[in-house]
Symmetry: C2
Subunit: 205 residues, 2 copies
């Protein structure tokens, strides 16, 4: 495996390399050396860009956020109401290896946020974004008349955020299967949002 010092190395490539390494084996096992190998650059050159494990995580997470947010925005373009909620929620869950990798990056936030103010700050921003997204999706479903007008949206958005984190943990640490994750999502939506009619699922393509 040839090593080269690439002075034009783009930050984006490094972010992707950091992401791939964390996504494989988690943050604890990720080393700058391994990221350098993944990015096909020298460790010295990498350290110029990523000075610490915090930075490694933050770069990987910035990339991960772009990918997951992109998937969610796509869904919001194509679907509405309860079906949009269901699909956005599923898009964020570790139903396959790829998204499980994103969750390993997310777990890294939980691991480092207690010691790194910068990681804590970015984590807070991501949680605020999730709450806004869930709140806005539930409000849309409400305005479309698909769910009751008297739902407690902030509490449901917070519950949804907790539910999603919990399913992520159960999947990666408790062995919850993709099928069970989907069942749990459907049960949550049916009981917590109580969609008014069957049209919600009929809307999906």
């Amino acid at each position: 495996m040839p090593k080269k010092v690439d002075h034009n190395m783009r930050r984006e490539d490094l972010a992707k390399a950091a992401f791939r390494v964390i996504a494989r084996n988690g943050l604890a096992a990720a080393t700058l050396r391994e990221v350098a190998r993944e990015a096909n650059c020298s460790a010295g050159s990498l350290v110029h860009y990523l000075k610490s494990k915090d930075k490694l995580l933050l770069e990987a997470a910035a990339y991960s956020t772009l990918v997951i947010r992109g998937r969610m925005l796509d869904i919001e373009d194509k679907y509405s109401g309860v079906e949009a909620i269901r699909r956005v929620l599923l898009a964020g869950l570790p139903l396959d290896e790829n998204t499980a990798g994103h969750w390993k990056v997310w777990f890294g936030f939980w691991e480092l946020s207690e010691q790194s103010p910068e990681v804590k700050k970015v984590l807070a921003e991501r949680y605020a974004e999730a709450l806004r997204r869930y709140g806005s999706l539930i409000r849309d479903a409400q305005e479309a008349g698909e769910v009751s007008a008297d739902l407690n949206i902030p509490l449901l958005a917070a519950s949804l955020s907790a539910f999603s984190d919990g399913i992520g943990v159960q999947a990666l640490r408790g062995g919850m299967s993709p099928a069970k994750q989907k069942e749990a999502v459907n049960l949550w939506i049916d009981n917590m949002l109580r969609p008014k009619a069957k049209q919600a699922s009929a809307r999906s393509k």
Copy 2:
């Protein structure tokens, strides 16, 4: 601070010291040196018992499990039906500093389980215990006629486990307040279990 080598040092004291250290600042910040100081013994003497961070976590976790399980068994003695579910769930959530400390130990499991087969094994045992407890509590509420007979108990138990983990994450990492945690628990129970009458809450003392 006097240091002494105490050859009769009991494993339980070390477990408690390990617990207190992790409970304060999390596993990542916990060192054998700090645990030795907490246990008032020499680092060398401690290393004889706790050879690695895995062992440190496992001892702390064994103690934590005894405490939390004890609280839950007490509740199961005193309460029944939906009220027992509510109180057991709340007893496991980080509503105060003390239980937040137990969650920091729990987070340690998530951090180390990917790299340590022993940690992974104990984590799996604890999750299996939680599923059994939740399943049995829901079944009891069902047999008491407090909830519908057609609930999907294994799915609800898995959902409850995920919900609890998610609230723990939101509390410790997302800043969810104790009041909001309680609101989320009540919303979950009301919607997911749909207790049949008001007698559930009237049963509490």
